[in-house]
Amino acid sequence: MTRKDDDMDAQVNNKAERSEERKDRPSKSSAHTKALITRNLKLAYGEVASEPIPKAMLDLLNAMDDPSEKKS
């Protein structure tokens, strides 16, 4: 076997190994979809979370301090 053949075999083997590695980890574009979904989830979630808290909810919690207030 010539040196040239050895080089070619090495290249083929390396390529096969890299291909196996790629199978084991998520593809770049699959990670892109995941990131896209996560980003939009956080945006939608953040929109609601940043809204002012309704007064009725705060009143309910404030009534914890004074149980008599809750009855009135």
């Binding site: 593809s27 574009s29 699959s30 990670a31 892109h32 979809t33 995941k34 896209l36 979904i37 996560t38 939009n40 989830l41 956080k42 945006l43 939608a44 979630y45 953040g46 609601v48 979370a49 940043s50 809204e51 808290i53 309704p54 009725a56 909810m57 705060l58 309910l60 919690l61 914890m64 301090d65 149980p67």
Partner: protein, 182 residues
């Protein structure tokens, strides 16, 4: 009512935005979501003696909210749909050419997911819950949460016209109605 542990109220107030966002992701209706949060607070305050100080208050509240939501859903025997939800089933979503998604399109697609898919995506993807915490809230195994998140993400990607490799599909976006039966 039993006296609440020290710091309970302030922690509750801090968690209100997350509770409201989680409720909205389940009901996708602002008024229903706030009713759900209000009911959750009433239940939490009535059962404050069951909460162990030092444990995860967020998980405790999310669990109460979630259980109450499904309890109401079972009573209704069907999911309550708002007018927007009905309309949403008929519109098509197409990803932008640069691969981004319009937030409103995203919300429309998200609303079409089954409740169990919406809740896991919200818990794990948006609220910052760990898989373990989400499993505790949903009352199932961690593995179930992981596979549910994967299925939900795939479903959403499909509805948004993204293929599994994250690329925009050629031509028209898919009709959400075609993929809504989860």
């Amino acid at each position: 009512m039993t006296a609440a542990p020290q710091g309970f109220k302030s922690e509750l107030i801090e968690l209100l935005p997350s509770l409201r966002a989680f409720a909205r992701s389940l009901t996708h209706n602002a008024a229903q979501a706030d009713d759900l949060v209000q009911d959750t607070l009433v239940k939490a305050l009535a059962n404050v003696e069951r909460f162990e100080p030092g444990t995860n208050l967020r998980a405790w509240l999310f669990t109460i909210l979630r259980n109450h939501y499904y309890s109401q859903l079972r009573k209704l025997k069907r999911e309550v749909e708002d007018a927007d939800g009905k309309f949403a089933g008929r519109i098509a979503v197409r990803p932008e050419q640069d691969g981004s998604i319009d937030l409103e399109d995203f919300k429309v697609a998200f609303a079409q997911l089954a409740p169990d898919h919406r809740e896991v995506l919200t818990l794990v993807g948006a609220s910052g819950c760990s898989y373990e915490e989400a499993a505790q809230i949903c009352g199932c195994a961690v593995g179930t949460i992981k596979s549910r998140v994967n299925r939900a993400r795939k479903k959403l990607a499909d509805m948004l016209g993204l293929d599994e490799d994250g690329q925009a599909l050629p031509g028209e976006g898919r009709l959400i109605q075609d993929t809504a039966s989860v």
